[in-house]
């Protein structure tokens, strides 16, 4: 057992921490700062900041140096994720590109694609969206109906994608398209890299139940994409997608723990200010959540250990997703119960207390989404049962 990081990793932590301290304005970490900004302004601010961070060498932590990365260790990536949360750094504007597309391009992209995609991605010159889900293909991705028809050197694409993160800010979208007519299920799909700045592509914001619009819809009407802009082989998009989604295993449980533990402390703070922190029933519920949060931290160490040892985590990622998403939701359910009759109010006013609940409400609302996106809890249970435990399909 060795729960420490190497000297080089700790040195990296110090450097990163110093940079973050010097480069995150105080007002940015004030609760509600980002929510109060107009969406475009917020996005631009984050986009520029993230580019500067990349220029300072704090991006692509684990990517090989030949791709402009830092060539760091898995431990450094974990440290990076944690420190970003700790410093309340702005969230990345290119999450899908950085986490999924880039490693896939490194693995199976052509030399030209590696050159054209990875550098600009790292510098936020191109914002990438992911075009997977459709109105008729949510958990069942293989039911997708967006089609691409060959026309000379191009594919002509028609269809609709939904739940597209950053749809309103995207420059390009890696899209699962059925490129063989009459193909069924997993066959005949290609992953096309489509330019969103063309007349055949229209993005619309999707207003969520929280009132925010993190997601959007993308409509393709005779959109054109050169047939060379395919990632992996034409017709082999399912395999490309599975490879791409496998990089989710790098998702850092350590950072999630750091964030959720902070949220736990925020909920405890509300309980204390309401004078409910001595209520034994509430304490038992909070302790149950804390138990799972601690387990999440240990599981993150387990995952990092496996990565460092070069073990394939395989379908264990399903269990990880199930665990963190359900635990996060449990925490916010306790928060709602704790407010009782005041659960839906914007502000809590009691004697000398005036507390703006809206930032907390936003997190509670968001927790309803985490058990759906990225594979719903029900899908994760199926995968865990079938692929990890070996129960029959």
């Amino acid at each position: 057992m060795d729960l420490s990081y190497t000297a080089a990793e700790e040195e990296f932590r110090s450097e990163l921490r110093a940079w973050l301290q010097a480069n995150i304005p105080d007002e940015w970490v004030r609760p509600g700062f980002w929510e109060a900004l107009p969406d475009d302004e917020s996005f631009q601010l984050r986009r520029d900041w993230e580019r500067d961070k990349a220029m300072a060498g704090f991006a692509g932590i684990q990517w090989p140096t030949e791709f402009g990365g830092r060539g760091g260790t898995p431990g450094m990536k974990a440290i990076y994720d944690v420190e970003m949360v700790r410093a309340r750094a702005p969230q990345t504007v290119n999450p899908l590109g950085l986490a999924f597309l880039a490693p896939t391009v490194m693995a199976i992209g052509t030399d030209a694609q590696r050159k054209e995609i990875i550098g600009p991605l790292l510098r936020n010159e191109v914002i990438w969206c992911q075009g997977f889900s459709e109105p008729g293909a949510g958990s069942d991705l293989a039911a997708l109906a967006t089609r691409g028809v060959r026309d000379g050197d191009d594919f002509v694409v028609n269809g609709q994608k939904v739940w597209t993160t950053n749809a309103m800010h995207g420059d390009k979208v890696f899209t699962m398209v059925r490129t063989e007519p009459d193909s069924a299920r997993h066959r005949g799909i290609s992953m096309l890299l489509i330019d969103m700045h063309q007349p055949g592509v229209e993005a619309r914001p999707l207003k969520q139940m929280s009132g925010a619009s993190e997601f959007g819809e993308v409509f393709f009407t005779d959109a054109r994409v050169p047939a060379t802009d395919v990632l992996g082989e034409i017709g082999d998009g399912w395999r490309t997608a599975m490879l791409l989604l496998s990089f989710e295993r790098g998702a850092s449980g350590m950072a999630q723990y750091t964030e959720f533990r902070r949220q736990y402390d925020e909920v405890v703070e509300v309980a204390t200010r309401l004078g409910k922190d001595r209520d034994p029933v509430l304490r038992a519920k909070l302790a149950r959540v804390l138990t799972d949060l601690e387990c999440l931290r240990l599981h993150a160490w387990h995952v990092l250990t496996q990565v460092e040892q070069g073990s394939d985590l395989g379908f264990e990622a399903s269990m990880t997703k199930l665990m963190w998403s359900e635990t996060s939701q449990d925490l916010w359910e306790v928060y709602d119960e704790l407010l009782g009759e005041d659960a839906t109010l914007d502000r809590l006013r009691l004697d000398d207390l005036d507390l703006d609940l809206r930032p907390l409400h936003a997190q509670a609302m968001w927790s309803r989404s985490v058990t759906i996106w990225g594979g719903s809890s029900q899908v994760q249970r199926n995968v865990t049962a079938e692929r990890v435990l070996g129960l029959p399909r």
């Binding site: 057992m1 060795d2 729960l3 420490s4 990081y5 431990g75 974990a78 736990y264 405890v268 309980a271 204390t272 922190d277 034994p280 304490r283 038992a284 909070l286 302790a287 149950r288 804390l290 138990t291 799972d292 601690e294 387990c295 240990l298 599981h299 160490w301 387990h302 990092l304 250990t305 496996q306 460092e308 040892q309 269990m319 199930l322 665990m323 029900q378 994760q380 249970r381 199926n382 865990t384 049962a385 079938e386 990890v388 435990l389 070996g390 129960l391 029959p392 399909r393």
Partner: protein, 338 residues
């Protein structure tokens, strides 16, 4: 970062598992279970425990032990839980830990080699007080030495009068011990008592983790084959989802027991929280997994002839030992809410 067992630790566990599978399987457990008036202390198993170092694990090398830590001890505890093995292993290890942590030089020299070699049987209890009645001592009837609370510290009871107490868990024997004369452990400060109790709690949590994992594994194996409505029952989502949730819970309990053992060994600042988390999680996981073992075997799981009740009953007994999940959650609340 290395949060896992080393190869040596893994091999130690595999050796215990291998011995139980080959030499003390569930049929042997059944023999002990059904012989309710017997000692519950099979000689062959005790001999193996002595020869293979299961008893000597945490005893210092100068006293003929292996000088290993709680991490290694919890590896053994987990395998004994998985095998629902009877016998006074844990009590003996904990009695040795008490003497190691709080005993005088003479007490160490007198007891540690004997406990490490299986020449003496030990027991540890936090209930009752010396002098007086210790109401529930595991293997109290056969222990050569019982470590029990006395004043603010601990005492070694060597001449107790034991009265057997019936228990539906046939994988142990429990007795009330009337403690007369006793010898104090001079180093048993409140901090040492807390440390010993933490060690006991981790070993019980590890046993529960082993029980839970084995119950789940056996249930999955059964539901892969058992057919109803023309298909394996394990193909139904109602069952799949329950077993998937259990897999998550048991895996987390495994992490928690391992970390708690390390936290106690290394004296980490967060060790009290780690121990409470481990016991709360392991208790719940074992109760849930063993109840599921009965449910997802269907009618056969409720019979005496099936082994499910060995696991269920052991989980019931240990879930409350050194604090229930609720009690540990109250502790967790104290530590994180204030």
């Amino acid at each position: 970062m290395f949060f896992a067992l080393t190869d040596d630790q893994r091999e130690f566990g595999a050796a215990v598992r291998g011995y139980l599978a080959g030499r003390f399987d569930l049929e042997a457990v059944r023999g002990v279970f059904e012989d309710a008036d017997g000692p519950g202390h099979p000689e062959s198993l005790w001999k193996a425990a002595a020869e293979q170092g299961w008893l000597a694990v945490t005893v210092p090398e100068e006293h003929d032990g292996l000088g290993l830590g709680l991490v290694e001890a919890q590896v053994i505890a987990r395998e004994l839980g998985a095998g629902v093995a009877p016998g006074p292993w844990r009590g003996t290890v904990l009695a040795a830990e008490a003497v190691r942590l709080a005993g005088s030089d003479e007490q160490r020299a007198a007891w540690l080699p004997r406990l490490a070699s299986g020449g003496a049987v030990g027991a540890f209890t936090t209930r009752g007080r010396v002098p007086g009645v210790l109401p529930t001592v595991e293997y109290g009837g056969l222990a050569d030495v019982v470590v029990a609370p006395s004043g603010d510290g601990l005492a070694l009871v060597t001449d107790g009068a034991a009265t057997p107490r019936g228990s539906y868990d046939g994988t142990t024997r429990i007795a009330a011990v009337e403690a007369g004369g006793a010898e104090a452990l001079p180093g048993a400060s409140p901090a040492v008592v807390a440390e010993l109790t933490a060690r006991a709690t981790v070993l019980v949590a590890a046993d529960l983790v082993g029980v839970a994992r084995e119950a789940l594994t056996r249930t999955v194996a059964y539901d892969r084959d058992r057919e109803q409505f023309g298909v394996p029952v394990g193909s139904f989502q109602a069952i799949k989802h329950a077993l998937a949730d259990l897999h998550v819970a048991v895996t987390m309990a495994e992490h928690a027991a391992l970390y708690a053992a390390h936290a106690v060994d290394a004296g980490l600042e967060g060790r009290d929280l780690a121990v409470a988390v481990a016991k709360a999680k392991a208790s719940d996981a074992a109760l849930d997994a063993t109840a599921a073992m009965i449910q997802y075997h269907g009618g056969i799981g409720y019979t005496w002839e099936h082994e499910a009740h060995f696991f269920y009953k052991r989980a019931k007994r240990l879930a409350g030992q050194f604090g229930t999940a609720d009690e540990h959650r109250a502790r967790i609340a104290d530590l994180t809410i204030g």
